[in-house]
């Protein structure tokens, strides 16, 4: 869900950015982080915990807590809450620790 109008903030028209999330082509907007774009699309689960395989979303949204780690362009443990969305990014949900390839 996107903010449509706001009493204080401007809600400008933004350029659409296409990217791939778990194999599907989806889109966010310029200025989004990966996590904000996914959240707007209704995807709250970003990864699975290391031991218990529990669902993980973001918690702090400013790069502190590490709860939003995903695999981005084959790189694991990317803090998606502070990583800007770029056209053509391949974003995957991360299960557990992630592997460096």
């Amino acid at each position: 869900m996107r903010l449509k109008k706001h009493p204080i903030l401007d809600v400008p028209e933004r350029k659409e950015i296409r990217f791939v999330y778990d194999g599907n082509e989806v889109s966010g907007y310029e200025g989004d982080t990966i996590a904000s774009a996914l959240h707007a699309l209704g995807h709250r689960v970003l990864s699975r915990s290391i031991k218990e395989n529990r669902a993980r979303g973001f918690y702090c949204a400013i790069g502190n807590c590490g709860s939003c780690h995903m695999i981005v362009n084959d790189v694991p443990n990317v803090k998606t809450c502070i990583t800007r969305l770029e056209p053509g990014m391949i974003v995957k949900s991360q299960k557990g620790l992630g592997r460096i390839v």
Binding site: Y29, V45, G63
Partner: protein, 363 residues
Amino acid sequence: MTEKDLIIIGGGPAGLSAARTALEAGQKVLIVDRNHELGGQLIKQTHKFFGSEKQYAKTRGITIARKLIARLEPFKANLEVALDTTVLGIYKDYVVTTLKGETYGKYRAKAIIVATGASEKVLAFENNDLPGIYGAGAVQTLMNLYGVLPGKEVVMIGSGNIGLIVSYQLMQAGVTVKAVIEAQPRIGGYKVHASKLRRLGVPIMTSTTIKKAFGNDRLEKIQIVGLDESWKEIPGTEQELYADTLCVSVGLAPMHQLLSMAEIRMRCVNELGGIVPEITVDLETSMANVFVCGDVVGVEEASSAMVEGSLAGLEAAAKLGQVHPDYLNRKIEYLNQLESLRCGPFGKKTLCGLERIKVNRNA
């Protein structure tokens, strides 16, 4: 390795203010910030600040950020800013290592000001890790910075100023706030913020806490329970609330990690939010030429962070031989401003905490 005079870590209200006074004194400055833009958490704060004119009272946080950045403009010949750059470590030999994307950086500084701020605390309850349970600041970021709504129905845990302000901002953005839950018998934040919420019909439930959250991979509902005078749960007072988002606003903890890794002398002081460095009256830590300001040396408001920043910048520059032309007057002015900012009931707690970390330079 690049040699630098003064490195300021963190470009929020404290770091930006420190940069200004240091630059005024003629000091060369490098600001390192891991974010995409300067301003720290001010860039998501749409509310107007309190305090006095000197700390931009009646101005919105987002506007204050712009002003603090604009104040550096006249000095840009001596200012370098590294954005999207995370400081990985500070070492005893004044080496500061950074990472920007895949690029590793190594600096040696003559002086360092650490203005890393604070991070949101979490609360222990069953299923507190369900997606949909977010820090209140996180929701503010999502909404005010990226224009994304956190959900349809929100419950806020904690009635401190952040909890109250973010609740109000959620309502402004068209999200329903079902209730604000507060474990203490009274509202934690300013009455004016609480009143604004109450006028919108948001109940603020004191002596109440969250017991558990329910949901399959995402938050669906929560259970709350009443507390007695000794903070014990009152059986039979459990209630269930449906909400797709829960905001946790139970305080902030100073981001002490860089200081701790340099083995700077730290103490755990509850009144200041957690682990904080010992400081002199000049905001210098146990490691000579390493200064601190803002929430990293005790969680307060942005107004005091700005004044502390100004003081830290002044002192760090002086230590490097760049004495501000108006050094003494400024110093007195900043100390007076801090004193007046801390004269209220919230300030009492801060002062009590600061008392525990103040050391004499020669001690």
